[in-house]
Subunit: 554 residues, 2 copies
């Protein structure tokens, strides 16, 4: 049978290549695997979210047969509302994942306007020319799957985020039989999670958390506050079981925490033990040693419940001595400082805070080196494209794959936008699309581009100086000004700074009034004023604030 | 004997209370312990360094008898040039520390203008009413000491940064005998390093690094680049020994690396093995497998040697396949992302990078919980003021101190500026000085205050919009404008954004021309323009850029 080229194209996400979204292309047809968002990097000033490039997806939307989702975490479903706002394409996901997507679509007023198709593990699904086989994996959320995508040109496997949890809290252990079967049938290419390839050994089972919670909470005389990701349904379940065991009443606090738990409970993926979960107002009527709050804020996000408690800003919950706060998460790189400050503030209010490494109150949802090797040995792929890590993780994955016998040349290290083709020649990059990421800034999607970001960085370093001067259109002489306004540069209300600006004004006046050899043109005058001020300020302070002349001719 | 009150006042440093500088007060006399700087936190936009409050020190300079320094790391000596620029007071330090201070004074053209007095461990030194007894401790730099400060009111001990390294690379093990002796004589108060109080057990000896380097470097076929702090003399020494053993020629690269090593070598704290250390230009003539470079840049600082190599910007050193880069340091909280990016970029250039947790190429210079307990048990202080940690560390230290029998009420958790008094009543806060920290921004010391920082944060989030309009002074009608300039907000060269600004101009025009009930005052017009634009932009985009009206009346 003659086949068409089979390709994958990692999209969006910054740093973590292909984690948030990857396109699979067979002939004319496309299938998108996951549609997640990423939190912005430090230097993306004023940016709230980063999502995959929408314009590229719009360009190819006629060829896009569907979006298949591995699991319900933000970094795999968070971009869906933005994509579905402009593209009408069916989304396929397992039951809990569909539920969590529904919450998002409702928020963005898209519910009912887009097709959401339920997937069942091990039930084959035909989507265009793709035979999609979802298989169960274990992760820190129930109902997570990977995909074997069968095409006439061969099978591509996406692991999704996974660990091999032999004692998962919800559902059966990982589906080794199906994985082995897929492996025996032959895997052309494996696109594997490699986030945790730096860690030797195995990641502990999620179940160890329950014991840790138990040990901490058993004899506590006061209130307990457990903070974790709102999408970490498994963690929340364990907290609920521990609460029930120790007779504590639980309130779920934070909008995403409430919404996610409600839908997970409705779909029977989150079991509310009898007489345990209450509204916050009701829980507050119980004695403190019978109370547990489960809140958002494990990353120290300023508007989250825990941060507001820590800064004394939460309307209903005041931290106090006797409280014990358990931070059941590790900071995502870049959030260490805000998390540390949250802990410090809670301790200042007299609360006890338990966090890693003080106690084992968090385990990763990603497999360590031995688990990544196990996945490779179950599937025995011909080619590998590690897709869920930053570049150093991809390099380490290639080295680890060679330990289990995959030749180095069969492991391709992709960058975002690479078009990677699998065929008889091997695995290779055949093209590259300039797909960027889209920065979401408040409600503007993609309104912030490189120019705007660069300006923000400049403004944030040294602030801005505005020179305003009004000139006579015919004579070129000064009618009003120059005035110099400083913001984020120096504080003109202070004496020394005021003198600096006074002197700067004098220099600008001299520059404008300097006799010119020829008639002075407007553009020339603007540059002259700008240079005069920039040079003077640099000489005096070694700083380079943004200088904006506003010259009006009347 | 009647005594005067004995007090300590933790100064400067952000977050880490008293790490960088602490004042000791006995009667009218003051002694400053350490004068370090801190690297700025994430939201301190445009700030390079943070140093203790200079104006407060200037106020009390008549009473200040001296500055005593525990060891030569940046966070303990880095503020000295700024302090000594305005205050003439003698500085006391051990030999290597004096050498490293000399390097700084030279850079700031203060050498020879200030008194630098050598201290010898265990030799008592009289400084005003203070009997200062330096005692040897082990840390990641040689010649580190702690201080027992004897006064008529009792003895205060500063541990300085310490670990109990039983097999230090340079010099004898920690001076247990002296510590025990000081303890037996009686310690009123202990001000202890508690940075690593979160870690159980003991911190490994610095010496383990040499074995790790040996194992990695033994059979490497290419060039080796080792990156660490320029002040980590002990680490550099081990790299030199390993290089010599494997016949590699070493170049020290980076200004601070070269300067620090030169002075440490001159003072016999850093041994250059024969035929090992060369200039970079000379080393480049050797085959790659006979070369080792030791560079700065372990924190991913953009201008450091390693970052420039990683981004392909270093004039003389180009990273390539076959190179092995060893990152012998862990990122300081807040630097994780830039360090990760440096690793990614080096790997993109084909270099191998070895870092924690891939290999044990770094150990901390601070003692873990068992060592902190050992210090407490050697000294048996009456009162404790943990001073080298963030607030949560202080809380954990108090709990740990109670494990070895120090009553909780005898451990005081201080904030910067607290005046802490030790007397028969106990330990207590008797006063608080509003001492801040000084932000160093380029060459301006303290030119950046809260107002300026807040403006920078605002600018960095949503950028700035400037409205310029010229009005007729008598009629109030518009002569020129309104013009709207956008920077860091939206990109007006794009179509949609241009229309937004066009519409905004129209709104401002209407607002100005709106018939007013009474005569319109200038200030009123400015607010009206500002509100009109802010409201319109917020309604359209949900963003709140800084709005600056420039209204000229002619």
């Amino acid at each position: 049978m003659s086949t068409q080229p089979l390709r994958v194209i990692p999209l969006g996400g910054v740093g973590e290549i292909g984690k948030n979204a990857t396109l699979v292309e067979y002939g004319d047809d496309l299938l998108l695997v996951d549609a997640g968002l990423k939190f912005p990097e430090e230097e993306m000033l004023g940016i709230d979210l980063v999502i995959p490039d929408l314009s590229f997806l719009q360009e190819v939307q006629q060829r896009l047969r569907g979006i298949i989702i591995t699991h319900g975490h933000e970094d795999h479903i968070g971009a869906l509302p933005y994509i579905l706002a402009s593209i009408d394409v069916p989304v396929y996901a397992t039951s809990l994942t569909c539920g969590l997507i529904t919450v998002k679509l409702k928020e963005h007023r898209l519910l009912g306007k887009r097709k959401l198709e339920p997937l069942v593990p091990n039930e084959m699904r035909e989507i265009g020319p793709f035979q999609v086989q979802p298989f169960r994996v274990t992760h820190s959320i129930p109902d997570a799957v990977g995909f074997a995508i069968h095409t006439p040109a061969g099978t591509i496997v996406f692991t999704g985020d996974f660990k091999f949890d032999q004692t998962p809290l919800y559902g059966p252990p990982p589906d080794f039989a199906t994985l082995a079967q897929i492996g025996q049938r032959g895997v052309l290419a494996l696109l594997s999670d490699c986030t945790r390839v730096e860690k030797a050994g195995y990641t502990p089972s999620e179940r160890v958390i329950e014991r840790a919670f138990d040990d901490i909470i058993r004899d506590l005389p006061g209130r307990v506050i457990i903070t974790t990701f709102a999408s970490n349904i498994t963690r929340i379940q364990q907290a609920l079981y521990v609460a029930a065991r120790h007779g504590r009443k639980v309130a779920l606090v934070g909008r995403s925490m409430e919404n996610n738990c409600a839908i997970a409970n409705e779909l029977h993926y989150l079991d509310f033990p009898e007489d345990t979960v209450f509204r916050l107002d009701d829980v507050r009527r119980f004695p403190l040693n019978e109370v547990m709050l489960i809140t958002t804020g494990s990353q120290g996000e300023p508007s989250s419940v825990l941060s507001r408690i820590a800064s004394g800003d939460h309307r209903q919950i005041k931290a106090m001595p006797g409280d014990t706060v358990i931070l059941s998460a590790t900071p995502i790189p870049g959030n260490e400082e805000t998390v540390a400050r949250t802990i410090d503030n809670l301790m200042r209010l007299g609360s006890d805070v338990i966090y890693e490494p003080l106690a084992d109150v968090h385990v990763s949802g990603h497999g360590s080196r031995e688990e990544i090797k196990l996945m490779l040995n179950l599937l025995r792929p011909r080619y590998c494209v590690p897709v869920h890590g930053e570049f150093r993780h991809l390099v380490l994955y290639r080295r680890l794959a060679s330990e289990v016998g995959i030749p180095t040349e069969n492991v391709l290290l992709a960058e975002i936008g690479d078009v990677i083709q699998f065929d008889d020649v091997g695995v290779r990059r055949v093209d590259h699309h300039a797909v960027g990421s889209v920065l979401v800034d408040g409600v503007t999607v993609g309104g912030t581009n490189e120019v705007v970001l660069r300006d923000r960085q400049h403004l944030s370093r040294d602030g801005v100086l505005i020179v305003s001067v009004t000139l006579d259109r015919t004579t070129g002489s000064i009618i009003a000004g120059p005035e110099v306004i400083s913001r984020g540069f120096i504080d003109p209300s202070r004496n020394g700074d005021g003198r600096l600006l006074e002197e700067a004004r004098e220099r600008i006046r001299e520059a404008i009034e300097e006799p010119a050899a020829t008639t002075v043109e407007y553009g020339f005058m603007v540059s002259k004023v700008k240079e005069t001020l920039s040079d003077y300020i640099y000489k005096q302070t070694r700083a380079r604030p943004m200088v904006l002349p506003v010259i009006t001719e009347v």
